[in-house]
Point group: D2
């Protein structure tokens, strides 16, 4: 396996010119694209349509190149968008391609990826252990596809899956089955939590017994250290993008990760990069920062309302959602070390780290 | 002269309990307070009333202690509030006290302050060279009062002064005189610019000839490196708080400053601290950060809409004002180095640095 | 009893000049003021400090006039502020004074008011039937004080009371007692609901048996038709302002009320005014509208997300809270009939009307 | 000519299911569609991408039906979207079709439309008299196409055209020509004003001499009573949609218009409907309101900051743009009379009515 990583800036949610240029220059073969992960400049909330607009725009471009319909592109390529480019964050897309190994693997552990889908998750399973188990199975398949043998080589597992919609709840009612909650918005927490627990189980971060004993969205001290999960009303099954390092890969990149203690944890950013093989100087040099291909992080408001003893106003602000405050802060801290504001920072960390902390992963050029 | 610096957290704009505790403990003698500089948790815009609420609350407290009216406190003590605690920023007040030198100065340059007022600036002078010249005179007086001899020892000059209000414009009309602009909101730029140019002239950063040749709010390549100016409709004269170091002072602090190249310039933050005598490690230690008594910075959106080549959306966001994005970003970057989110970060930098850059000053315990 | 009603515009949350003018002109005797009800120009959310700023500003004014402390004014006069002047809504205060009957009552039913306080509501009682029962008792006292004999003559009962704060929950924990919920923000719904149910019981709108059978914040088809309740973390007991008509009063006003079917129910506004004795023409005349002394209404987003079959985006908007959308809409509809934008419109209607509907009350000059 | 009008609700900016249903039912022949005018649920500001997403979504649908490319659909059909569904406003699209006259015209004046395009407006002409003159010529052509003879029969002229972009200004610089302003955002006012003045000239509302004497965006007492203009950076020429009544048309609708004195002018709404032949009762009946096919209005904050003597906070609110406050208010007032929240309300009225007022037009079923 050989994974390549290209990052393109976007002038608007429908701006696909960066990828057009890469295709036209022969740098990217559209047939090799397996995933796009990016930030769009919406508000990141329920009425953020920039994610859908970006997906449709890239689907139309790739449909033209690959002689497929936009729907077929949607099935072939994983699109992961996070809305909200607060502070210095820059709208962009990271394009991931996958081809056969180039030459013989040299034995070094290099970037590898696996993608897997679950079956349809019916409404009555959303946010439950069944949901989590389905993810766990898919995670095992993705890990196998990636050619990764052990948990220590997995660094980031991005999962997208369904939440409970009013239509889903109505359907469950009709069939006489119960759902995890009757509140569509409130189901996000259960869905994200179930998927993160599923990652933990699938990777072997927790035992089956621990899994069975954990109450989803309640026992938050049980978590995966590498999951990043999101739930959307438009999805009916779960899509897993598993990133790690494999000695069978020939990719010119290595992956690493760490956990951020809070939104100003510059030290945690350094640890994530070091885990991928890049030790930054006190004042990072251009040689160092130019090796960073992509950073994926979650940002979260502290549940105590304080960071290192001082109160902030993220949770009490009625004008700006706390996720926007948190992304603005963490994005700037990361960029102050990497000199690159095109970073993937999204929100919501149930069962993805200890409460108040946040996962961060990095892809570094070898 | 002996200046002391105390920082207190605030649980709300009217929370004066931090200062109450300092007074009750005998740590702060209310009669020695000369200025309060702080952040309040409003939106930082025209309808941010948290600044006024904080001022009234502290005035009531000090009026009781000093047997004066709130108005008399307002004349005796300088209040400088910036609204908007975006990202990790923490509502707080920095309390500055001034007493006679404690013992004989040891020859080292130590924190010194001077405060001066201009006469009333009539509407027709607001945002003009007359406004600037009045500030220049007051800056010279403040410098003298601070016992500071040369420009190199001045590190931060905070100026608050009038802008043009509808009432002021009407008054000018009645007297048949013209004003710098007829747009009250637009007058902020002229007022802040005139005051910053006045600082540059008063300190000798620019010559009288250069001053005469500069068009206010137009020739932005002429600027003071240490000014931080703000304009408010409630003011009729300008108040200057000049900070620097003097060998006549016995204060246990030293001041420094630098210019930030952009909102993620961690290196600039390190330079400002180094200028005040504190060199931070790559990962700052608690011994280092505990020496930082206060940081005052300005945050600004890049006029190009880009930082280090990547676009951000500060200027096109119709939901969140660009100043809020900029403060969220810079505040987090500074706190990621200092471990303290109670930082004074405000906006608007005309003639206070090159366009897109921003001044930063620091007070460090010796 | 003789109640007078004066409405003053406010140029900012601390602007008390309208009341100063009324006092200086001898129109209002500050010693007769019993309540102020108004709108301030904050965001209406948890970080809206304009309410506190307005209260402190009026307390300082009245403290000076009545030779009392601000705290004593707070105990003597009821202050009810709602933050958020969306759309055309105008910041203002309605000042209510109470004196002895002027001459002999003429037998007509005229505006009457009663004010009563509950004892302290301990955290374990907040949002429970005990909370509701305490309100019911106070409502009965307020009704008696107002000289109102029957439910039909009660038109508006404004109740302010405590919610659960983190400190309150901690205190309950220490004493080993449980609270209605452990979520401070979520306790608003229980507190508002309990107080509204208490009004319904106190007025006899529901029987004791119905009261006992109703689950607070769950059985929302049980409600008072005249309650308007709000909960705040700064309160420890409940304050009841009961408005209605009494034949013992000599006030030059009459009160009425109605229920609005939705946020565009102009017909409901007309019914509320008609209930107070004012029938508006198709295009209301100045003679008609000048008789309207005050309007108090609640605005609420429709739980279905639709109004008369068409979807709106109040509930899905991540930038603007749904209460702000609802207040902007209803305020404009009311003002389009009354020609006066200084209207009290606030949010949150648990047990105060059927879900999606909203109460409205009016004071009309006879 | 026979114009038909269909209004469809939209569940999201990309929801075209309403039109799909009309096409599938044979109610609308996609080949006859000439224009779509609608509201999308964005923020209405520079970063509102819901307009582009809606356009692309409808273009894809119609491209499929008409065997054309989306670009060709864009040239064939006029798309006019206004972002921002504040308060009760409902996302929707009004679909306008045009076919040959059905039978012999009966002599009654009935809804007629003309559409015309200008040539490309180069940057140096944007916002100038040349821009205005080009619009005037196109307006005359649209009027002729609509079969409308006199100004009295024109009721609404929607114009979309270019503003100055950074790229346009750079292009002008390269060619050594000057532009109306160097501020891209500031150019909106000039562009909208020029286009509205062009409408006034083209319709004969003002003389050529008055046109020549008027300074664009300065002499705001010169205006068209029926223009509604908007400017966008994606446009290079102007598109004119002219609506009125013609005795040659057989459409089952009549058009009318009025001017709203302020955002709560219910009387003005009634006048616009009466001008189209529908006199509403004091409390409008279902028979009356069901005849209203579409309403197009502009909403504007009062430049004095007051409505009927009372201050509002639209212009000082730093959290919510004044256009959003104004749309929320006016939309609710209109819907309180029409019982239909799917109304086209947009902002910006330079040279489109006296300052502070706003135009409103209505299409009513005969």
């Amino acid at each position: 396996m050989h994974i390549n990583v290209h990052k393109v800036d976007m002038a608007s949610p429908s701006d696909v010119s960066g990828l057009v240029a890469l295709i036209d220059a022969g740098t990217v073969d559209p047939a090799t694209i397996i995933a796009l992960i990016g930030k769009t400049e919406g508000n990141g909330g329920a009425n953020d349509f920039t994610r859908g607009f970006a997906t449709l725009s890239y689907q139309l471009l790739l449909a033209k190149h690959l002689k497929l319909t936009p729907d077929e592109i949607g099935k072939r390529i994983a699109f992961v968008w996070s809305g909200g480019t607060e502070g210095v964050l820059s709208p962009h897309a990271t394009i991931l391609t996958k081809t056969e190994a180039q030459g013989t693997p040299d034995g070094a552990k290099r970037l590898a990826m696996g993608i897997a889908l679950t079956d349809t998750i019916p409404p009555e399973d959303v946010g439950t252990k069944k949901h989590a188990s389905a993810v766990a199975d898919a995670v095992r398949r993705a890990m196998s596809e990636a050619g990764i043998n052990g948990l220590n080589d997995v660094h980031y597992v991005q999962v997208k899956g369904p939440l409970l919609t009013p239509a889903g709840i109505a359907d469950a009612d009709k069939r006489g089955v119960t759902t995890a909650t009757r509140d569509p918005n409130g189901s996000k927490v259960f869905a994200r939590g179930a998927m993160a627990l599923g990652v933990a189980l699938g990777l072997g971060e927790i035992t089956q017994a621990a899994f069975d004993a954990t109450r989803i969205a309640a026992d938050l001290d049980v978590y995966s250290a590498v999951a990043a999960t999101s739930a959307g009303g438009e999805l009916t099954s779960c899509e897993i993008l598993l990133f790690g390092n494999s000695s069978k890969a020939t990719s010119p990149f290595r992956m690493g990760h760490a956990v951020l203690a809070d939104a100003i944890d510059a030290s945690g950013v350094r640890r994530a990069l070091a885990s991928a093989g890049l030790t930054l100087s006190a004042e990072p040099t251009k040689d160092e920062t130019s090796r960073i291909a992509a950073i994926f992080a979650k940002a979260e408001a502290s549940p105590t309302g304080k960071i290192r003893g001082h109160r902030n106003t993220m949770l009490s602000d009625a004008d700006i959602n706390y996720e926007r405050h948190a992304r603005a802060a963490l994005g700037a801290v990361i960029a102050s070390l990497t000199s690159d504001t095109a970073i993937f920072v999204s929100g919501g960390t149930e069962h993805q780290c200890p409460p108040g902390e946040a996962p961060i992963a990095a892809i570094v050029r070898i």
